[in-house]
């Protein structure tokens, strides 16, 4: 298939960027979106032009690096799919595809499609962990966990920190990401001990990073490649209220 691509090019964090139009030919529909980008970048290198900078790592939907806003959707049109897992058969021959970086004050553009998501790391460092003394790993089944809690924690733990929730949200709110992390730990006995300080610190850091306020549009849940539920956001609202009342 032949495609017209309009891709955001931006030299660095300081300079203004713009959309640049490229043509690609004979793209196989079995390629992933990133493989299509590889083809385009080889073309550019052959022509002596600067290839397009984009983030990627695992290419199997688990690292959360491949942030691209494709035709107005985070990670493109497919439900529950990262950009690396998006196949070209989701597009038609002759399509024009617009690709932009995540847009949020808390995720500044580094170059082209690459954004700095270290705001997420700082939120995690502020409380997204459990404090344990090191030593031999204990048998996980030593501590009984109710099945429902284990399932909910596991579902929340599927979050790969990709930032699609922030990118899709009209307020650039990080509530789905932060609530998934808060939930995952608060639901399990090992994490429950620090649940108050955790939610207080993580919400504080989230606000300081300049993410917006949640207005419950649920765009995050609709665009999340791991289909994290907004029930986690309600849980974080409860956790936060509880921690403040204590």
């Amino acid at each position: 298939m032949n495609l017209t691509l309009k891709i955001w090019r931006q030299k660095n964090a300081k300079e203004a960027g713009n959309l640049v139009t490229y043509q690609v030919k004979d793209i196989s529909e079995d390629m992933s979106f990133l493989e299509m980008f590889d083809v385009l970048n080889e073309q550019l290198v052959h022509k002596g032009e600067e290839p397009i900078a984009f983030d990627h790592d695992c290419r199997e939907g688990i690292c959360g690096m491949c942030s691209m806003f494709i035709n107005g959707r985070a990670h493109g049109p497919a439900q529950g799919t990262t950009t690396c897992q998006l196949h070209m058969r989701k597009f038609k021959d002759g399509d024009t595809i617009v690709v932009e970086p995540w847009r949020a004050r808390a995720f500044p553009v580094v170059k082209d499609l690459i954004v700095d998501r270290s705001a997420f790391d700082r939120v995690i460092s502020s409380g997204g962990f459990i404090s344990v003394n090191t030593g031999n790993a204990k048998d996980a089944n030593n501590i009984p966990v109710p099945k429902q809690d284990a399932d909910n924690a596991f579902a929340a733990a599927a979050c790969i920190g990709c930032g699609a929730c922030v990118a899709a949200c009209k307020n650039s709110s990080a509530m789905l990401f932060v609530s998934a992390k808060v939930s995952q730990l608060a639901l399990l006995p090992q994490g429950a001990i620090e649940r108050e300080s955790r939610v207080l610190n993580m919400v504080k850091q989230m606000d300081e990073e300049g993410f917006g306020n949640c207005t419950n549009t649920y765009a995050c849940e609709a665009e999340c490649p791991k289909e994290i539920s907004v029930e986690n956001i309600a849980r974080m609202n409860r956790e936060y209220l509880r921690a403040n009342l204590k």
Binding site: N71, G72, K170, N171, G212, N213, T217, Y218, E223, N237
Partner: protein, 220 residues
């Protein structure tokens, strides 16, 4: 408490609580005003209005109501400004309708329309009944004032438009408030959403029927 109110989550909780409080006011307001549908020349309605205007508990609640509205608007303004700042560079292409409802993304706009309506509405009825002696002095009645106001088709159109805005504001606001307060539950959320949808359609519809019925002469 200060930490709570300074946080994004705390501000949202204020929105939700004041929003739900305003919803409870709508129930009372809608019930009293529906007395016009007795179609008795406004006798029951005027009696209801007089009770609301003179009862000390209601008058105190009126002050609480104004505080609630102001808090809701103030917090809405802060949250909306904050949210606009969170994305300084907008997307060239944003297919937002693929992931969310337009009215959930337009709460600030819908709220502003409601606020503009409220100013007109309060000036038309509340100011006259509280700050002039037109009604308290027995020169006219609130029902007669309604008939006068709704004789104009433009006023009726403004009211209809405002009630559509209110309906959409509530369609998102009702369920959103529960989520904000942490009340999301596999078993009960579908009920809350159904009640919210019913409320958002029925209450604005009853309100909208008031100017329409009076204008058309169905209620005299």
């Amino acid at each position: 408490m200060n930490r709570f109110l300074a946080s994004s989550l705390g501000k949202k909780a204020v929105m939700a609580l004041t929003g739900l409080f305003l919803i409870s006011f709508l129930v009372v307001h809608c019930a009293i005003n529906s007395l016009i549908f007795y179609n008795d020349g406004g006798v029951n309605f005027n009696a209801g209005a007089e009770f609301m205007g003179t009862n000390p508990i209601i008058r105190t609640m009126e002050i609480v109501l104004f505080i609630g509205i102001l808090l809701h608007i103030y917090q809405a303004l802060i949250l909306t400004l904050n949210n606009n700042k969170a994305r300084p560079v907008k997307y060239t292409l944003n297919a937002a309708s693929a992931n969310s409802k337009w009215y959930s993304r337009s709460m600030g706009l819908l709220g502003t329309l409601i606020l503009m309506f409220l100013i007109i509405h309060l000036k038309q009825f509340w100011v006259i009944s509280r700050f002039t002696d037109e009604i308290t002095g027995g020169h006219t009645t609130l029902f007669a004032k309604m008939q006068e106001a709704f004789s104009s088709p433009w006023v009726v159109v403004v009211y209809l438009f405002a009630m559509i805005s209110l309906g959409y504001h509530l369609l998102h606001g009702f369920r959103s408030a529960f989520q904000t307060l942490g009340l999301n539950n596999k078993k009960y959320t579908p009920f809350i959403q159904a009640i919210g949808t019913g409320f958002s359609v029925i209450v604005p519809f009853i309100f909208a029927m008031m100017p329409v019925s009076i204008h058309m002469g169905w209620v005299k």
